[in-house]
Symmetry: C2
């Protein structure tokens, strides 16, 4: 079973994704506030711009379905706000790696689900969701932080491991399981590719997943 | 004496403005985080997009002068971070009115100073600085909050009065006074037009300046 077989309705997909983008936006906003230099602030602000552009595309698709974007996002707010609180990180390094790892994981996840959307919608939305906005900026900032700092690397590796658990839980909550079931044995293969990409993201920074 | 006679060098003007835009960006980011509905979050996120675009224009002008944008902004960081702490507001309503009033005041201020920059630079930068990004969005959100809530209106009117004082102080700090003096008697007329616009901004929300 692949992700595309578990894609929810367009309204659920877009509403959930739309609010998730707002969570990402706030995460990047926290990273701007915590950034130690004007240059880092500017770079992170640039990443939010790309994300805000992508958010407008999702809002436009919700309106195209005849929905009010704010109302369509509202049902996912409580769960995603809670996810945000659990994953936001305590300092700049943790905030940065949260942005890098969770936004990356969920970009892959929503891109995989997009294949199960009606064709025309999938073609319009896929180019937006499969891009992780600001990924290069985040990797460059994190690499500089981690370089020559094994204690930080080990702390961030632990934090990354915790993040993937919380992120998989929130991702699972949007899947449309056949017959309403959530067969645990069938979840592993669905997520194995996503976890593989997560591991590669950790490796890229020299962190042990 | 008009503002254009007190314009600092291009490097100071752009460095100060660039970091001020980062402060505005963080203010709007706080407004997104504190917003009570997904719709308000989306609208405020859209306002940050315009601001981030304007910030890129300022960074490009700094590079055109042969300067590193991050280094050019750094000297203004301590004073502007302090300004931000003093003006950030305690809740969503105060954050919103801080964005509306201080960003508006300083947009007018930097547009006035732009007339004293070298002509070509002034022509490129003026269209960016004289716009208050997201003003319509902020006014719409604030009007809805204040409507039928006289206690809030009175609290925000007080807060607005305090904001203008702090904002004038930070604006003064960037002016290039002849002979290094800061003749108090000559400051009033320079700021009177800006204060007039501030009062009109308060009036637009039914607040007494």
């Amino acid at each position: 079973m692949g992700l595309a077989e578990l894609t929810p309705s367009p309204a659920v997909y877009l509403g959930f994704l739309g609010y998730m983008q707002l969570v990402f936006f706030e995460n990047l906003g926290r990273a701007v506030m915590a950034a130690p230099t004007p240059e880092a602030k500017s770079n992170l602000a640039r990443a939010t711009r790309e994300l805000a552009d992508a958010h407008e595309v999702v809002r436009a698709e919700l309106r195209r379905l005849g929905l009010d974007p704010g109302e369509a996002m509202a049902p996912y707010r409580a769960a995603l706000d809670d996810y945000q609180r659990r994953t936001q990180g305590a300092d700049w390094d943790e905030i940065l790696i949260t942005c890098y790892l969770t936004h990356g994981f969920l970009a892959d996840f929503f891109a995989g689900l997009a294949a199960g959307l009606p064709r025309a919608l999938a073609e319009r939305i896929a180019p937006v969701v499969e891009v992780q906005q600001g990924e290069e900026i985040l990797v460059a900032l994190l690499a500089r932080e981690i370089d020559g700092n094994p204690r930080l690397a080990s702390r961030l590796a632990l934090w990354g491991r915790r993040l993937v658990g919380d992120t998989m839980l929130v991702a699972r909550s949007v899947l449309a399981w056949p017959n309403g079931g959530t067969d645990e044995a069938r979840i592993e293969p669905v997520f194995s590719e996503l976890v593989g990409s997560h591991t590669r993201r950790m490796d890229a920074l020299g962190l042990t997943a």
